[in-house]
């Protein structure tokens, strides 16, 4: 951006909030001038660290000979657990189950054993391969089936949700069926890999630049590992090259190791794993196996649901507790289950520790819900959309979730109906059925699925945020808050809120890097909460300053405070209009404080996990998508032909940014459910550790026709920041429509009589298998 001083006299832009402003870094992004941590000019004396890792997935480390590592060219130091001055523990849930470096037990292939520091990254990376480790290898538990077979050890306490008498309701249901669904995991594939750069200061000070969504947690972890107070550690992040949940806890390791090495050597140290190592080391979206039983009737109404959501959590708890909780919180999607029992199984496995990923278990919960709908639709012969509508929340006694929160803002029916009308669902469906009859090889399918996603951290205390706003005497503003920028446009949204609050131009607001030194004790930028929380906190700070300025202006110009108003480009003081800059300059001379902190805590929410009851979500975000696909019944290949989306952003803070979140979230969700397949070999080694084998969508995978609309005239019923709604995660789940459109196409080979039970990811191989199975079961 241009130097703000060049444009200081710019008038405030009217209606900044709600306007489609470009991303604040867009001009720098396209010029290659946006600075990521690896682009930061190297501090004098910079060294590079690399991690040495375990070559087995389960067993004991008998010996570790690092002499060759230490003797390798350029190597300055080799550090193990013994070199940690504080705690050898970075478990984010304080369960002490995640050492920085393994000392005895090896729990997954790729577990860090030591760090080597050298003059160049290449030297460190080469040296790291020279360790001689001896192991007593034990059989590894790789997947959910193996974990079950070994007794089903859990990494954290499971959750049970219960409402009504399920056994009785199931027994009384006219029809019942049982099934199981496998839902795959997902690699984040942020384009900028994990990276940290630690610079030691005087005393015990440590400054860490790190690509993280959670600077405060990194601060706490670094402090604990170094054995110093949090006040000695400053963590800063200007921007990430993508996060998606993969940098909520997963950056801790890299930050702590860089800081540990920097402390030991009293020199700056950078740690950036190679992409393949990043994929091996870091956790991913949890894969699940859902076992379900449904009671329903011939009209397609669900009477009872009993489900177990088993998840592969990996070698430690990390965020698996809240992730599997959120899966259960979304096992209803938009549907009312008169009687319900659901249980999570956060299973221990000898694989990387699965973690947050956009949706945080919600998508898996919802995929399970839509499978139930599909089962009922095939069992009754009803159109799945009809089954969806018949089971929506709404009506007397039909508004209570399995966690006993009343759904108060339900607009699912309107969204579904409106989208079906706009995309001509019924007519297209009929046309597709006709066309399929004449197309022996290529079969089309269509599906329309809704989304209802709960907004708030289910850990209630995380729903708080702080901000720091400085107004300088020239009328420019420095903005800081606890939210991090990972591409989602949080910074520009909050800047819009601040600029509008003061009636100044965006160019007068300087967005500054998130740092624990300015705003403390922040929550992760996660759970879609970024603009809800930080927008409100920043507005709170602005209002504090405005109150002071108003009092000053009233006194100075002898007007009543009610006669002072901050308008676009000017401040009205009685009949007088003055520039914001002039007001600020005058206020400074009168010794008015022009800096303020802001704070926000989400109201209304509470949650009793033991009881499985509460009001964990402030509100719900809604949306619906209709997808049309074509599949090849000879190879299982497919193409997403058309997608129509209607999504609820409340009163959007920035419709361009929100549209970007919807389109991007959809395609990311589509990747998860289609071509993104993780594989581990029998030894527990991740086979898909590079983009050559792990296939995220490319440009040609996006829908051939892609109509995305924000729901109009739909302000949030709750008083959120300018009545907007969170948009980071909910659109990802719109992609469930693609899975069901594929399923619809597969079902056509059995005249839509056999439920395809298509598991995820629906790779071409799975689609072809489903085609062959449906054909066989239909005896066609």
């Amino acid at each position: 951006m241009a130097d703000a001083r060049r444009k200081l006299d710019i008038v405030g832009e009217p209606a900044l909030v709600g306007s489609p402003r470009i991303h604040d870094s867009a001009l720098k992004h396209v010029a290659g001038e946006a600075v990521y941590i690896d682009d930061v000019a190297a501090p004098e004396g910079l060294l590079h660290a690399y991690l040495g890792t375990a070559a087995i997935a389960c067993g004991r480390l008998l010996s570790l000979d690092l002499s060759e590592v230490a003797a390798a060219p350029g190597v300055v130091a080799v550090l193990t657990a013994a070199d940690i001055p504080g705690a050898n523990d970075i478990s984010s849930t304080h369960r002490h189950d995640e050492p920085v470096f393994a000392t005895d037990r090896i729990l997954f292939h790729g577990q860090p054993l030591f760090a080597v520091v050298a003059g160049t990254r290449e030297q460190a990376r080469r040296a790291a391969t020279l360790a001689k480790a001896e192991y007593a290898e034990e059989p590894a538990l790789i997947d959910i089936a193996a974990a079950h077979a070994a007794g089903g050890a859990l990494v954290t306490a499971p959750l049970t949700l219960r409402r009504g008498d399920v056994a009785a309701a199931m027994a009384a249901s006219p029809r019942r069926l049982k099934g199981a669904m496998t839902i795959g995991g997902q690699e984040h594939f942020y384009l900028e890999g994990q990276i940290a750069l630690a610079t030691p200061g005087e005393d015990e000070d440590m400054q860490v630049l790190v690509s993280t969504q959670h600077p405060s947690e990194v601060q706490h972890m670094v402090a604990a590992v170094l054995g110093v107070g949090s006040h000695a550690v400053t963590v800063e992040v200007r921007r990430m090259g993508g996060g998606f949940g993969g940098k909520e806890t997963q950056a801790n390791l890299f930050a702590c190791v860089a800081a540990l090495c920097a402390r030991r050597l009293k020199r700056p140290v950078k740690l950036r794993p190679d992409r393949d190592d990043d994929m091996v080391l870091t956790g991913k979206r949890h894969d699940f196996v859902v076992d379900y039983e449904i009671g329903f009737d011939d009209e397609g109404r669900i009477h009872a649901v009993d489900a177990v959501y088993a998840a592969r959590c990996g070698w430690n708890a990390d965020l698996s507790g809240p992730v599997t909780d959120r899966a259960l919180f979304h096992m209803d999607n938009c549907y009312f289950y008169p009687a319900v029992h659901a249980r999570s199984e956060p299973l221990f496995t000898n694989t990387c520790s699965n973690t947050a990923f956009r949706g945080f278990g919600g998508p898996q919960g919802m995929v399970g819900a839509e499978r139930l709908i599909e089962e009922v639709a095939f069992a009754t012969g009803l159109d799945p959309v009809e089954v969806r509508k018949r089971n929506l929340y709404g009506g007397v006694g039909r508004d209570l979730t399995p966690y006993h929160q009343t759904v108060e803002d339900n607009i699912a029916a309107e969204v579904i109906t409106e989208l079906a009308r706009r995309c001509d669902y019924q007519a297209r469906k009929a046309a597709i059925r006709q066309a399929n009859a004449k197309s022996p090889i290529i079969k089309r399918g269509i599906a329309l699925t809704p989304v209802k996603f709960g907004i708030s951290f289910t850990a209630t205390w995380f729903n708080q945020a702080g901000a720091l706003v400085h107004v300088y005497t020239d009328g420019t503003v420095s903005l800081n808050h606890g939210g991090t920028e990972m591409g989602q446009g949080l910074y520009i949204k909050v800047a819009q809120v601040v600029a509008q609050a003061f009636g100044i131009g965006l160019d007068q607001v300087k967005i500054t890097a998130t740092t624990t030194g300015k705003v403390p004790n922040t929550s992760a930028t996660a759970a879609s909460s970024g603009s809800d929380l930080n927008g409100m906190a920043a507005l709170d700070a602005c209002e504090t300053i405005k109150t002071r300025l108003t009092e000053f202006a009233a006194k100075h110009w002898q007007e009543r405070p009610e006669e002072v108003a901050f308008l676009p480009g000017r401040v009205k003081v009685g009949a007088r209009e003055i520039g914001f800059r002039d007001l600020v300059a005058a206020a400074y001379l009168a010794r008015v404080q022009l800096s303020a902190t802001g704070f926000y805590a989400t109201p209304k929410i509470h949650w009793d996990r033991q009881a499985g009851r509460g009001h964990p979500f402030y509100y719900f975000a809604y949306g619906a998508a209709a997808a049309e696909v074509a599949i090849d019944t000879l190879t299982g290949e497919y193409k997403v032909e058309r997608v129509d989306i209607l999504h609820d952003c409340g009163q959007s803070l920035n419709p361009a940014i929100d549209k970007g979140q919807i389109e991007g979230g959809f395609v990311q969700g589509m990747g998860w459910l289609t071509t993104e397949e993780l594989a581990w070999d029998a030894k527990g080694r991740l086979s898909t550790h590079a983009p050559s084998t792990y296939k995220i969508p490319v440009a040609s995978d996006r829908p051939r026709i892609f109509n995305v609309h924000l729901l109009e005239n739909a302000p949030n019923r709750e008083p959120t920041i300018h009545r907007s709604k969170a948009v980071g995660e909910p659109p990802l789940m719109l992609a469930i429509s693609v899975l069901h459109a594929l399923s619809d196409a597969v079902a056509s080979v059995g005249n839509h009589r056999i439920c395809p039970r298509l598991d995820a990811p629906a790779t071409p191989e799975r689609v072809l298998d489903a085609v062959d199975r449906v054909r066989a079961e239909a005896n066609l």
């Binding site: 992409r275 290529i442 591409g487 599949i631 190879t635 040609s700």
Partner: protein, 511 residues
């Protein structure tokens, strides 16, 4: 390198030049010492401190490191997008390197492609953005008004995890409207740059020393033959789209590298009437253009070959000599009846031998290449009217993915309509690209119909024990291998039937 070694080089491979020369934007870069495998990306980021070009994967799959290389092609300046992360710096000899830092004009204003990306909200986290910008610039320089399908092709080698691509494609459509293409500074400067590159080109062999090895880039086939004979341990590196990963992923050190990229004769593709002759260094982009008239299916297969950056860098000779079990070109070329020309230095100049392509592949990563030999050319017979032909690539992701199965089939029908010869070649089903001998036998002498195809499919398990890995299971591979024969039959006998969901062949059916 001891002095005596230099003398022997001079005696056998012509005169030597020890300084690497290329243009970085307008700046002439001369480098006297450099490791043979130093990547362009590391040189830019670590030595030049030009950090606009990003490292996303260090294996040529994500495109965050996309830069443009301008080179002289028969006297004309040609710009190609390539992956800087797996391109070795010395291979830029005689070329121009352009990065995202070279795009703004003298006044500091954004290039039209950059402006289009901003206007269309084409960046979110911004990390992949410089790579997308460079791929779009390359497309703009080479083609006027590209279609959406062409945009998708040109961007298949660029991964974005944030936007879902919609705004980036929109930017690609918008870039032409923002400023006319002819006014582009990079096109305006073409003649000047071509002149400067012409002044850099010479007939000498580049012999560049580094701490850990030596890089040779001869200018003639004869000099190449001498170098290959003199350095039996050397690694012959063409586009480095695979060898680059040996360095960035396996951290292999290559002491001696011989790069034939400067030899224009090896890039030549000639139409010899009944067959095409491809010089070993013909890039996949050029190979595609030459093969496309033979069959739209070949065109489509080559379109899906890696990403655009890989198609620009990779070569037909490299793809064959590398001997991957899943390379896409060998099955197609084997089905077409291609022969390989291998050359080496002999007493009276070059000695050549020609072999059927399939006999080159002996076993997994083991080829019939004799001491001193290198792949010089590939001869590909054209299809006659009585030769139904088919090639299908099946992969987990449709574009920019490696085949699970690649099947290529050519039948020769006799006057009586019976199959006189069947050539069925598969990739992904064995350790090498391989013909399905039993299935060929089952088809030969038969009418090409459902019964014959079913009989052929039934034999596939005799010919192959397919790979079973993260790309696909063995069972799926075998099933698809058979179904591709069905697809061939349907496309031949009932050409109106829809058989493709995506790509050029589906677009053609869409009309």
């Amino acid at each position: 390198m001891p002095l005596s070694a230099r003398h022997s080089d001079v005696a056998t491979s012509g005169s030597l030049r020890s300084t690497l020369r290329f243009l970085l934007g307008d700046e002439l870069i001369e480098i006297a010492r450099c490791d043979p495998t130093l990547t362009v990306l590391d040189w830019l980021r670590l030595e030049k401190r030009m950090t606009g070009t990003k490292e996303g994967c260090a294996e040529g799959d994500c495109g965050a490191c996309t830069v443009l290389v301008g080179r002289l092609d028969r006297g004309e300046l040609r710009y190609e997008a390539i992956n800087a992360c797996i391109r070795f710096l010395p291979t830029l000899d005689g070329c121009q390197l352009l990065t995202v830092e070279h795009l703004k004009d003298e006044a500091g204003d954004l290039h039209p492609v950059q402006r289009a990306m901003v206007e269309c909200h084409g960046s979110q986290c911004g990390f992949c953005t410089p790579g997308f910008v460079m791929s779009l610039v390359a497309l703009r320089l080479n083609e006027a008004a590209p279609s959406v399908a062409r945009l998708e092709d040109a961007l298949a080698g660029n991964l974005c995890r944030c936007t879902g691509y919609e705004p980036i494609i929109a930017a690609g459509r918008r870039m032409g409207e923002i400023a006319p293409r002819d006014a582009d500074r990079l096109l305006r400067d073409r003649e000047v740059v071509a002149g400067r590159l012409a002044a850099l080109s010479d007939a000498e062999t580049l012999a560049l020393d580094g701490e850990r090895g030596r890089f040779y880039a001869p200018a003639t086939v004869e000099a190449l033959a001498v170098l290959v004979a003199d350095h039996p341990q050397a690694t012959l590196v063409a586009g480095a789209t695979d060898v680059g990963l040996w360095v960035t992923k396996q951290m292999k050190r290559l002491d001696t590298v011989i790069h034939p990229g400067r030899i224009e004769a090896l890039r030549v593709i000639t139409d010899a009437g009944d067959h095409l002759r491809f010089g070993a260094m013909a890039s996949h982009v050029d190979v595609r253009e030459a093969l496309a008239p033979l069959s739209p299916q070949l065109d489509e297969m080559m379109r899906r070959f890696g990403g655009e950056q890989v198609r620009n860098a990779g070569t037909i000779g490299g793809n064959i000599a590398n001997g991957s079990p899943i390379g896409d070109l060998p099955p197609a070329l084997i089905a077409l009846g291609a022969t390989l020309v291998l050359a080496r230095n002999g007493r009276a100049g070059l000695e050549r031998r020609s072999i059927p392509l399939e006999s080159f592949f002996l076993d997994y990563r083991k080829q019939d290449r004799r001491p001193g030999e290198f792949v010089e050319a590939v001869m590909v017979p054209k299809l006659a009217p009585e030769m139904p032909f088919h090639v299908s690539k099946v992969s987990k992701r449709f574009d920019e993915d490696i085949s699970a199965v690649c099947g290529a089939f050519r039948l020769t029908l006799a006057g009586d309509g019976l199959i006189a010869e069947a050539r069925l070649a598969y990739g992904g089903l064995a350790g090498i690209p391989k013909r399905a001998k039993a299935a060929e036998a089952a088809l030969t002498g038969q009418v090409f119909d459902e019964a014959a195809v079913s009989a052929a499919i039934a034999t596939l398990s005799q010919d192959f024990t397919p790979l079973d890995d993260m790309r696909a299971s063995a069972a799926y591979r075998l099933k698809v291998a058979g179904n591709l024969l069905r697809r061939f039959l349907i496309e031949t006998r009932a050409p109106g039937t829809g058989t493709r969901v995506a790509g050029l062949l589906a677009e053609a059916a869409h009309g």
